[in-house]
């Protein structure tokens, strides 16, 4: 009894963690299911059919491809633009700095419905037909702020005396940036890029507003599938995503751990 009292916080915490991971577990388990009907709610029997035939459902792999392409381009553009903004706001004093901060924050505070629908009205007014391009534009938009925030916090933790030391050792501003600043900010930029990619890949609402029947991304496919019937392949891809995310995040932690240990 006393052990429970003493470890109450830990027990509660781990229960919450369980709640967090339960759906992932369900996804993994049910990727091995072979349902009787169209829907994958109930466990029928074990089967690896979906794993051996991941692209079996028509359109699923095409939508994956589109999501990946859009994700990569959106990540690239938003990371570059966002890093530039982060340096401007994090390193310099200039007039309009607090309004700039506000403008960067607003997209993160806007409900996706509002952002998606407002972009739609813009595209309609400009006469641009919805499709892959409009999706891409929208994705770059909402990724931008998140990249800025991530990179900015990394910049804030950078010791400005290191750049002074570089100048003291004959590095001109460009060399100091490339040889000292950039390598030290790089982990933040990588984190921002990763965040951008996952936001882009996973987005449904904003994408839906700005898409056309010919430009189906993976989340849109899943949504459509949820109405018609959820193929098990969705669980397969969900499992793969989860494992990939685990590996990525874990290796990210290991790298930063090794760096932290050598800095201790």
């Amino acid at each position: 009894m006393r052990w429970i009292r003493a470890h109450l916080v830990g027990i509660a915490g781990l229960l919450v963690l369980g709640y967090l991971l339960l759906p992932n577990l369900v996804v993994i388990v049910f990727s091995f299911n072979k349902p009787n009907g169209n829907y994958n709610y109930e466990w029928q029997r074990f089967s690896t059919d979906a794993w051996t035939n991941p692209c079996g459902t028509p359109g699923i792999c095409d939508s994956l491809g589109l999501s990946l392409r859009i994700g990569l381009i959106a990540t690239l553009v938003s990371t570059i633009l966002g890093t530039m903004v982060a340096f401007a706001v994090g390193r310099h004093r200039f007039r309009g700095r607090s309004s700039t901060n506000l403008l960067i924050f607003l997209p993160m505070a806007t409900p996706e419905v509002v952002m998606g629908s407002s972009l739609l009205t813009l595209f309609i007014a400009m006469g641009i037909a919805p499709g892959s391009t409009t999706i891409l534009i929208a994705h770059i938009l909402f990724c931008l702020s998140f990249v800025v925030v991530t990179v900015k916090s990394r910049i804030a933790s950078l010791d400005p005396r290191l750049e002074q030391a570089a100048a003291d050792l004959f590095a001109n501003p460009f060399q100091a940036f490339v040889r000292v600043t950039l390598p030290l900010v790089a982990p933040g930029i990588a984190a921002g890029g990763l965040l951008a990619f996952s936001l882009s890949f996973d987005d449904y609402i904003i994408t839906n507003f700005n898409a056309s029947p010919s430009s189906v991304t993976f989340p849109m496919f899943v949504w459509g599938a949820a109405q018609r019937g959820t193929p098990v392949q969705i669980n397969v891809i969900g499992t793969v995503m989860f494992l990939a995310a685990l590996v990525l995040v874990a290796s990210g932690q290991l790298i930063s751990n090794r760096r932290a240990r050598t800095a201790a």
């Binding site: 109930e42 903004v85 401007a88 995503m241």
Partner: protein
């Protein structure tokens, strides 16, 4: 040395060195902020303008400053607004209650396992949230173990009694929607809380104990006040998207649980009444902006990003 003496006059003349105006920040900002202005600010204005127009998709729209649209929209859909706020608020409170122990445990008590736990919390965030929400259908399905357990322990009856579920089922109910909302936004509450609690100096907790505070008093008087910035950050990050969400209520709810996000979506894409849809969007945006403005007033813009 003739240097310094001869140079006295010119030195006085050169006087104060001018500080050259630094254009670097503006150049760095330009592409990114231009993107934000063109694809965020302008659409918002466009949305506002759309809400004041009349017409149809076929006949085209004209800006008529028709404020009646707002009145109609609000009178038709105020229950949905209210419901969205109530659901989001409930989900936010629940998220806070659930996230706090985990965040505290990770930050203060987990020692060697800290990074491992962090990985477990962040990784689900990177996997398709549609798929995970669909998984809730499986978890709460009528013939599944969870529903069976709930029925046998009369939890279902209890939930029905407070109108959170109906038909002896956990699915397609308010309960399921709130469950889903809480689940989806947990990481958004955990991470800011964790970041804040990690920096909490444990010796403060020890000092409180040294000064006769019970664990509960220590929490209320020391830990909670110091964690407020994280709480506020997490609350904002949870409530705002939750208020506009509709995926959870579509997948897990029923016709009684329609949230404002769904309404906006259907008005835009199915009914195609752009003016009403825009008006609703704008009102939702306004509500959010008011909440954020109150927060900004107290914390300043540097804390936002």
């Amino acid at each position: 040395m003739s240097g310094p003496v001869a140079d006295v006059a010119p030195a006085a003349a050169s006087g104060l060195r001018r500080v050259r105006r630094n254009y670097t920040p503006y150049l760095l900002l330009l592409p990114g902020m231009a993107w934000l202005v063109v694809f965020f600010v302008v659409p918002m204005l466009s949305l506002g303008s759309q809400s004041l127009q009349t017409g149809t998709v076929d006949t085209g729209y004209v800006l008529t400053w028709h404020l009646q649209t707002y009145v109609d929209a609000l009178s038709r859909f105020w229950p949905h607004f209210l419901r969205s706020i109530v659901f989001a608020g409930t989900a936010t409170v629940l998220t806070l209650l659930l996230a706090y122990p985990l965040a505290y445990f990770m930050a203060q008590r987990s020692g060697r396992w800290k990074n491992f736990l962090l990985v477990l919390v962040i990784a689900p965030f990177f996997t398709s949230f549609l798929i995970r929400t669909l998984a809730w259908q499986t978890i709460l399905t009528d013939n599944g173990p969870v529903a069976a357990l709930a029925r046998s322990t009369h939890v279902t009856d209890l939930l029905q009694w407070v109108h959170l579920t109906s038909n002896d089922s956990l699915m397609n109910s308010r309960f399921a929607v709130i469950c889903g909302l809480t689940y989806n936004f947990l990481p958004f509450m955990i991470l800011p809380l964790y970041a804040n609690l990690e920096r909490l100096d444990h010796s403060l907790v020890e000092a409180a104990g040294d000064l006769y505070a019970t664990p509960i008093q220590t929490f209320w008087k020391v830990i909670w006040p110091l964690s407020l910035p994280g709480v506020v950050g997490g609350t904002l990050l949870t409530f705002i998207p939750a208020a506009g969400d509709f995926i959870n209520s579509r997948l897990l709810g029923n016709t009684q649980t329609v949230m404002i996000g769904q309404v906006i979506d259907s008005e835009f894409l199915r009914v195609q009444d752009y003016s009403t849809a825009a008006a609703l969007s704008f009102v939702l945006m306004l509500i959010i902006v008011v909440i954020v403005a109150v927060y900004v007033r107290r914390a300043g813009t540097e804390e936002l990003v």
